[in-house]
Amino acid sequence: MATLAADPEDLFAPEVIADPYAYFGRLRETDPMHWNPRAEMWIVTRYEDLVWLVRHHELFSSAVIKTDRRPPHPPIDAEDGPLFDRVKEFRSDQLVEHDRPGHLSMRSAVHGYFTPQAMEGWRPFVRAAVAELLDEAAPHGRMDVLEALAAPLPVRVITQMMGVPEEDREHLRHLADRLLYINRGEPNRMKLLMEGIEGMIDYVSPKVDERAATPSDDFISVLASAEKEGVFTRHQVLVNTALLLFAGHETTMNLICNGTLALIRHPDQWERLRADPAGAARTATEECLRYDPPVKSTQRIAAQDVERHGKTIRQGDRIRWIMAAANRDPRAFDDPDRFDIRRKPNPHVSFGAGIHYCLGASLARIEGQEVFRALAERFESLRLETEELEYAPSIQFRSLTALPVAWS
């Protein structure tokens, strides 16, 4: 039986999921502003273009979900059309789906919570949580980095920030797992996603009432007070609490897994980190972010017609920009495919850039630094238990499905 020829425009093809660097790197060198007819979107891969794009937020709207009239890609189960509409309604209230001026007032309301100074206050909590998780794993001589460390750590941190009791962690982790189906390829993803969304609404709603009556210093209180001031509607409070859980979960998971994998695959760099774990953790984390970023790409929608590289992007066109390709652009980085934990300068775009720059970047950095430091302090060497690593079929996230390692 003849097999079908692989479609070079299939962004979910197994080889593109396995190695986005080869696929998007080729586009970066041959057609940096590429129209993908199958996904009906522009693919932007050069560093310079990505920076230009994010700095022109007036040309490229973030209100993608509200504005985009096209059907879901890849297709979803036929009976899930109404679910898709509800997911759209929910997600379009996220802070990240807003343009100025609304975005600025929403971001201002929550920004104080996430400044580098404020997040430093969380470092001791993160350090203790990392130590506790590694203590649990240590006697076994092996662990799935994802299950033992990368997934539970951000859930612990976020549930603490939300001010929810420890016994609710597992429930929230289950909901966070469901929220991971955003921007995935599985046809049944709307059902799973909706379960996470409704679960979050049911869980968070009464908490918001509590915090509105008796404010505390947690994140839900910040949102509840912004609701009182008229910055957020109740729906937006619920949606953005879910966003915190979702946005801080998979991204951190991927930073930890992808970074650990890079360190294992580059023994010389592992040795450099081991030589000075506290001193090298900061630049090592930045290099992990650059080399194999947690988020491969993100999306905008053109607010007006724009010319670039002799092509015309039409108003309403979808544009997906690929941080994973821009971070390896030889025009922006020396020897870009080399993993160098002391790389400097390292102006990677893994947190985006411009007005939508990742709100949780400082927290992600602290989590990465504490994990890589602790691993290097604790283990002489880590080895992979399998070379058969798999990544989730997502266009947006670079998510390993497991990372089994062992030590002696």
């Binding site: 920004h111 580098p116 102006p347 990677h348 411009g354 720059y357 970047a361």
Partner: protein, 74 residues
Amino acid sequence: MARELRIAVDHDLCMGNGQCVFLAPEVFRHNANRQSEVIDPAGAPEEGVLKAAGFCPTGAISVSDAQTGELLFP
């Protein structure tokens, strides 16, 4: 009259993502290395300068009173 400010951008920390440039374009701009630089410390009211400094995701901006040297941010 408003006091005079001294604004410093630590180029070891600045990654050029441009929060400050978008919030206070009369005070900050991107230089040729895509890092932020100060063009006019008096280009915006003090409140606006402090907000821009506070929005920096890498904590690269510090603001002080030019006369007394008192650190206003961070």
